[in-house]
Subunit: 134 residues, 3 copies
Amino acid sequence: MLEKITFKTKPDEIIDITDKVQSVVSKSKKDEGAVVVFVAHSTCAITTIEYEPGLRKDMPSILDKIAPKSADYEHNKTWGDGNGYSHIRASLIGPSLTVPFEHGELCLGQWQQIVLMELDTRPRERTVLVKITS
Amino acid sequence: MLEKITFKTKPDEIIDITDKVQSVVSKSKKDEGAVVVFVAHSTCAITTIEYEPGLRKDMPSILDKIAPKSADYEHNKTWGDGNGYSHIRASLIGPSLTVPFEHGELCLGQWQQIVLMELDTRPRERTVLVKITS
Amino acid sequence: MLEKITFKTKPDEIIDITDKVQSVVSKSKKDEGAVVVFVAHSTCAITTIEYEPGLRKDMPSILDKIAPKSADYEHNKTWGDGNGYSHIRASLIGPSLTVPFEHGELCLGQWQQIVLMELDTRPRERTVLVKITS
């Protein structure tokens, strides 16, 4: 089973997508397996985090030290779209995550949520793929 | 098949869990497949590394440049638990890894081990999930 | 199905391996699934990126801020091979990626390619494993 879920995002936004992923697991009626969560875009990323307001500010702040918005990027010379930092951040964090599930429930920690990170410069519509594997 | 393995950890510790993951692959008696290794906590991570004493010091040292222990984090204002850097590091490295296996053996490089990285501020007990997929 | 693909690489090189991965998906004749891409070496990494000349320069440049080639590494004291930064970079980005496919085609974004990143100090021959899961 493969489902596609669409999200409207804003720059630097981190969106908790755990419930949406759990819905696909529940709908599959499978007891045990692993679910692949993949974002089909080159300027956003998928990971886990404790979803609370402090970390949602800390993460963009640390990412701006790793790949600063204000730095010069060769990418911007190619396209002139000013999102070189977005691509670099996305490649470092990565677009895919695989989470086991058991008794029809994602095996996440108590403070661990699955998130989509918008890393681009403007609001976007994003597609996340959720694939159940056996 | 889904197995849970528990590890006792110390801050900044990197633990070689390759043998434990291989044991689950062997126990499954499957010849070929892929194994998902997932840590169900928001302040530790799973990756591969050459498991030797030098890199076990270099990694925490580089991580302290990326997300310094001494920096201010909004997360610490939310909870007062002082582990904002732990969460950021964990989200950047990620909690999941998928490794193919063949002839019942993990397809790892000669100098490549699967590791659990403890990123939190105090000793913890951690659960790693090992899920065999077909 | 598990296939092994070999690549000859140069230091700091980023290689677009999307077509090779798609070939394995096509050869499997499966309509839907997920493909695991794994590099069995401790000094290179797998991720996605928009494969264009600018970013292929920006990525090594940002990585050199994260784990500089010129820094001192304990790893180099152990082996004297001078690639401590290669190991650290590889562990941070990670060796594995899982991509869903549908109608026999990888579900990638329009500007999103699967890449092998060579992070070591000299030309190498590298093996990438491509495993089809159901």
